[in-house]
């Protein structure tokens, strides 16, 4: 019997049970009660607080509603028309898409490169990996606040640049509409590059050492080995990272809200900050819900395309097994 050795005696499977007739495994009636009894709490909470609000968002989006009073001013698609004709919303949408693309194009290769280097035998590798993970475990609020404190004109970051030899006038990192978006992206890269590196390193661990040895035996250089063997085999990790990154970039809220509040002049607005601004700040729940629904569909379409085109093979086990 396998149980005792696996659980080291904590589970006393072998304990003799007095009058225990061998039971049949299917006991339909009791099982049905048990099944739904076990599933019910999760199901109720999930339907009540995930499905219901999402459905409500779709319903609210067809109304002109301030969140109080009766829900009776049905306006059809007006909220959607208004969103797509509002340059601020379109700017927010463009910002989201830009962040998605920049993250994939800049953070991905950067993380793979650094992970390949750090995957070599290094002194203090564990410490390095732990330190690299630090930004990810901080909340976006704390991280955003730290950067806001460092980036004011003439602040510590500017002083640091001066000490490096840049004596001229520095850009206004968070106050100049032409600069703020790039500052935001740099801070996001700081926050999430560590996670990407750690994920890539975890992926690299899964590649058998023998392949490198075989390649080395065949006379491949280190670079050839990385390009021809390591990176292709890292595929599944890269794809799951890219998926997480895309979804995260589309939902982006906390960091922007803390760092710039969507400003200056809406230069860093995202769909989520725009939504909270009008939904909560200005009590236009109907219009805010329309923005939420658009956000949902943009995420859904991108996620589906991505899953069809790229992820299907990797996710096959996780998502389809229960079916």
């Amino acid at each position: 019997m396998a149980a005792p050795e696996v659980t080291a005696g904590r589970v006393q499977v072998a304990r003799p049970a007095p009058a225990a007739p061998p039971r049949r495994r299917r006991r339909p009636l009791r099982d049905t009660a048990l099944v739904w009894g076990f599933a019910a709490p999760a199901l109720v909470v999930y339907i009540g607080f995930v499905i219901l609000p999402v459905v409500l968002a779709a319903v609210f989006s067809f109304f002109n509603w301030n969140g109080l009073g009766p829900l009776d001013r049905f306006i059809g698609l007006d909220n959607y028309v208004r969103a797509f004709s509002d340059p601020v919303f379109l700017g927010a949408l463009r910002n989201n898409i830009t962040i998605v693309v920049l993250s994939l194009v800049i953070q991905g290769p950067l993380a793979i490169g650094i992970a390949l280097l750090l995957n070599r035998r290094l002194r203090g590798r564990t410490l390095i990996r732990t330190l690299i993970f630090v930004p990810y475990v901080l909340s976006e609020v704390v991280a955003g606040l730290a950067f806001r404190l460092m980036l004011p004109p003439g602040g510590p970051f500017d002083t640091f640049l001066t000490s490096l030899g840049w004596t001229g006038t520095k850009p206004q990192w968070l106050a100049d509409p032409d600069v703020a978006f790039w500052t935001l992206f740099a801070v996001l890269t700081w926050k999430y590059l560590g996670l990407a590196i750690i994920l890539m390193l975890a992926g690299l661990q899964g590649i058998p050492e023998e392949l490198h040895e075989a390649a080395a035996l065949d006379g491949a250089s280190w670079w050839q080995t990385q390009l021809r063997i390591t990176i292709p085999l890292l595929g599944p990790t890269v794809r799951i990272w890219a998926f997480l990154s895309i979804i995260g970039s589309l939902q982006l809220f906390d960091m922007v809200w803390i760092l710039t509040g969507g400003g200056p002049l809406n230069a860093t607005q995202t769909m989520a900050t725009y939504m909270v601004d009008i939904g909560n700040g200005r009590s236009q729940i109907g219009f805010g819900s329309a923005v939420a629904v658009i956000l949902f569909f943009v995420s859904l379409v991108i996620a589906l395309i991505y899953q069809r085109a790229v992820l299907r093979r990797d996710m096959a086990g996780a998502v389809t097994r229960g079916g």
Binding site: V35, V141, V142, I285
Partner: protein
């Protein structure tokens, strides 16, 4: 055999690369920790010192800022709120998640695959989409300002990820164990409690850590649901403090770095679990 002749690191051939690797590692680590070090270090300076030289060293070291925050009742209230919310969320996620995952993983019943699909579909519904209706719902229920208004939605939104991670875990326990337990007289609930739960410990820890991290760092939901500083969690509290005392730069720095500490301590130790959870979905 091959490994005896060809060193795995390629050390003999690529020695020249080692200094470069260390340089890259050093730069990455420096850029990574610099903001954190800045905040912690400058919490030990007075605002006057900071204004005089924004990027200097504490001379002398000032302990008042940290003492001030640690003596600030609001800080502890928010710390407690964050702790209650995170612990309750984690407990809710783990308990409800493992129960639902158990029946999905190990029972054949009508609607099983529909149930699983319903839960996995939740990955498509981000909290952001639902947050405005949640706000109006919870206001109707009179729960605004109550920690439950954060806990329950968080449990709900963690459910998809939890079940996706736990189902394969629970399924991997061999059916022979179940038969053996049944022969020894264990009921199916007894099997769940005495065998399945202990065996799926690592999966439960992963799910719990992810729930805790997410809850501890959450901002949008507490921001909208909890409102005033006395009922807020730490991320919201830090933001309030930084706005209310924006002139007291040193105080804000101290508050910010103390808000970092629990996360840093806990999550650094839990790093492997978090990564395991995130990559777990790939391995399936």
């Amino acid at each position: 055999m091959a490994s005896a002749t060809v060193p795995a690191t390629g050390k003999t051939r690529f020695d020249w690369a080692q200094p470069f690797v260390y340089l890259v590692a050093l730069v990455v680590v420096a850029v990574t920790v610099a903001p954190v070090v800045y905040v912690v270090l400058n919490g030990f300076r007075s605002t006057a010192q900071i204004n005089r030289d924004p990027s200097g060293w504490p001379t002398p070291w000032v302990w008042d800022n940290y003492a001030g925050v640690l003596g600030n009742e609001m800080f502890w209230t928010q710390f407690l709120n964050s702790t209650i919310v995170a612990v309750a969320t984690t407990a809710g996620v783990v308990v409800l998640g493992v129960m639902a995952a158990f029946v999905i993983a190990r029972y054949d019943f009508r609607g099983r695959s529909a149930l699983f699909t319903l839960f996995t579909a939740g990955l498509m519904f981000p909290l952001t989409v639902a947050v405005l209706p949640l706000f109006t719902m919870l206001r109707t229920l009179g729960l605004l300002g109550n920690l439950l208004a954060v806990i329950v939605p968080q449990v709900a939104f963690q459910m998809s990820m939890t079940i996706i991670i736990l189902v394969p875990f629970l399924r991997s326990v061999p059916a022979e164990l179940e038969d053996a337990a049944s022969i020894d007289g264990a009921s199916r609930f007894g099997f769940f409690r005495r065998i399945l739960l202990p065996l799926s410990g690592p999966g439960l820890v992963t799910v719990g850590v992810i729930a805790f991290v997410t809850s501890w760092n959450a901002y949008l939901l507490p921001l909208l649901m909890l409102g005033n500083p006395a009922t807020a969690t730490l991320p919201v509290g830090v933001q309030y403090f930084s706005t209310a005392y924006s002139q007291d730069t040193a105080g804000v720095l101290a508050f910010t770095s103390l808000a970092m500490v629990p996360a840093l301590l806990f999550f650094t130790f839990a790093q492997r679990r978090i990564v395991g959870g995130l990559t777990g979905a790939v391995k399936g």
